[in-house]
């Protein structure tokens, strides 16, 4: 078990290395000159040379990449030995061209909003998706099943920017039941946090619970045909125990897998949701960075979300070992 975990962590770090190298390489493939980009409006040739030196862009590519990686682990110092010395502490991902803020600080700043969206929405979609999927599977072929799967099909076909805007129009603009979505600290203003997050949660959960509902239904129906469910019936168990203990237990594993990956992906930034509701999260940070060619921020957000996805993958695999005894032994 331990060596397995170690192997996974090492391979995760290798993947991160590859991801960071690719993203870092974008600096040099793009026709835009990073020095010119960070130069601003009152730019002169001398200034560009100076900036190029400050950002260490006059070094060779491997040296730059090496310093970038070193910055993440031990921090780095720009212009060391000069009066303008600039210390960037660990983990250093450079400075935004746009705001000159350290990228690490930006990420730290934006994470709570994204995490709020991801966790709130995931609880909601798990509750709705699983329960409607279970009910559909148990009442297969009845109007309850047809209705809920019809809604699920419709919901799965809709897009966040459509559902989000419609909900916002109804609940914020017309009925004024909710304030405009945004982010308040759940520790300082818990009520505001819920009110502002409600629409993003519902929007995301609406679409994702549709997928989970269909997944749960299909899984349950498949397991109902398994021999071991027939065995459970032959023992004289009642339907409730058969469905909740034997069928659901058999069907839950793939759902957990998909859930882990969805959550990991979302934590890297609920891009469209944040954009639609104008929520200052990681997704908004990265789209803004892309729009402005703010390369250090792009690199930072990509590496950050890669970390979430890799960690989610490892966690899902570990959870799999807990859920499936066949995996546990190996």
């Amino acid at each position: 078990m331990f060596s397995y975990l170690l192997r996974r962590l090492v391979s995760g770090i290798v993947v991160l290395g590859i991801v960071s190298a690719i993203v870092f390489g974008i600096f040099f493939i793009l026709p835009a000159d990073p020095a010119r980009l960070s130069c601003g409006k009152t730019c002169s040739e001398e200034l560009i040379v100076k900036i190029r030196h400050t950002l260490e862009l006059d070094q060779t590519l491997p040296v730059q990449y090496g310093r970038f990686i070193k910055g993440i682990f031990v921090g780095r110092t720009y212009l060391s030995g000069t009066p303008a010395e600039l210390k960037c502490t660990t983990p250093c991902l450079g400075y935004s061209f746009q705001t000159d803020q350290p990228v690490t600080a930006l990420l730290k700043d934006r994470l709570p909003a994204t995490a709020s969206i991801a966790f709130g929405a995931s609880i909601l979609w798990l509750l709705i998706g699983l329960s409607s999927g279970i009910v559909s599977a148990l009442r297969r072929g009845t109007w309850v099943d047809k209705f809920s799967q019809g809604v699920a099909l419709g919901a799965a076909s809709l897009q966040i920017y459509f559902v989000g805007l419609v909900l916002q129009f109804i609940f914020v603009n017309k009925l004024a039941w909710l304030p405009s979505p945004g982010y308040s600290s759940p520790f300082q203003y818990p009520l505001d946090w819920i009110k502002q997050m409600a629409l993003p949660w519902i929007t995301l959960a609406f679409l994702l619970s549709a997928i989970y509902s269909r997944l749960t239904r299909a899984g349950m129906i498949e397991i109902m045909g398994e021999d071991y469910v027939r065995t459970a019936r032959a023992k004289g168990l009642n339907n409730r125990t058969i469905n909740m203990k034997h069928v659901l237990r058999g069907a839950i594993t793939p759902i957990v897998t998909v859930f882990g990956l969805d959550l990991g992906g979302l934590l890297g930034g609920a891009v469209i949701t944040e954009y639609v509701f104008n929520i200052p999260g990681l997704g908004k940070l990265s789209t803004d960075a892309v729009a402005n060619l703010d390369l250090p921020v792009i690199t930072g957000t990509v590496i950050f979300s890669a970390v979430f996805i890799i960690v989610a993958n490892i966690l899902v695999d570990l959870l799999y070992a807990v859920l499936d005894p066949k995996v546990r032994i190996q």
Binding site: E226, D227, Y228, R230, T231, A232, R233, A234, K235, G236, L237, N238, H246, R249, G250, L323, D324, P325, K326, I329
Partner: protein, 341 residues
Amino acid sequence: MNKFLEVKNLSVSFPTEDGVVRAVDNMSFSLEKGKTLGIVGESGSGKSVTSLAILGLHKGSSAQVSGEILIDGKDINAMQENEVQLLRGNLMSMIFQDALAALHPYYTVGNQIEEAYLVHNKVSKSVAKKRAIEMLDRVGIPEPQKRVDDYPHQFSGGMRQRAMIAMALSCNPSLLIADEPTTALDVTVQAQIIDLLRDLQKEFNTAIILITHDLGVVAETADDILLMYAGKEIEYGTVRDILQKPQHPYAWGLLTSIPRLTGNPNKPLAAIAGTPPSMISVPGGCAFHPRCSYVSQVGQSCSSSIPELVPVAQGAHHLVRCHLDAPVRGEIFKNQVAPNL
């Protein structure tokens, strides 16, 4: 007439998009405590459907079950699902062919046996666990206190089937249905499992229905044999009747197709021509007639009318469903079949 199990005119049909499939058609048989009935037939002949009906497991599905299934005088078919639930695993239980698929992969073997015991016995979990260990020990699992916490995939094929048996017998059922319990096992393990079933039967005086397509297994264990073809019983009698004086051409085919150690190794094995019929379109008349070599001895009626299940002789318990006249059948058996047995 106080038979422990009496099945009367049992029919099971499934409505499908291509029409109604009569998987089991008008079956009647009986079984006493401590005795074994072997139900033999090819895949799709209705053996498993019959056994599921006896456990009332068609309830809640689209299957239409008619007739009476009397166990200890109680009609399973007339009961509600919740009434049958109280009897399943308790009065009658079942072991299945593929124990790996029939055991839940995510629960320990012990947990599954405990569960079977707890449904019908109001005892604590620790008592149930003791019972599980005791049962595993009884069916010959070594180190049962340790293996009780293993998962099914950690057991070998034979051990899994033993665990299945332990689970099925945990509540001392009076009727055990074994649906091809040895098909997925290799021959030596098969023999062990059959021995185990026989020992347990002696110990608990259980009535056993053994469903199989292996005549060898039936010959060793059964008291009576019921031969099924296309959902109908075609021959029914004691082991001695069926194995020594088979009456139906299908039985002849089955028995002569068994490879013998003493036979000529260069001679091709005998086989019944053709394939089992599709249950969607069962041949008219006697369902076996397209594969039967003796149709010419009867003529028209083989394909036009379904023969009755009748005693082979006045008052005999040996029943057969065939258009051949008894004397003709006797002649064919004596001259063409018996020499090849």
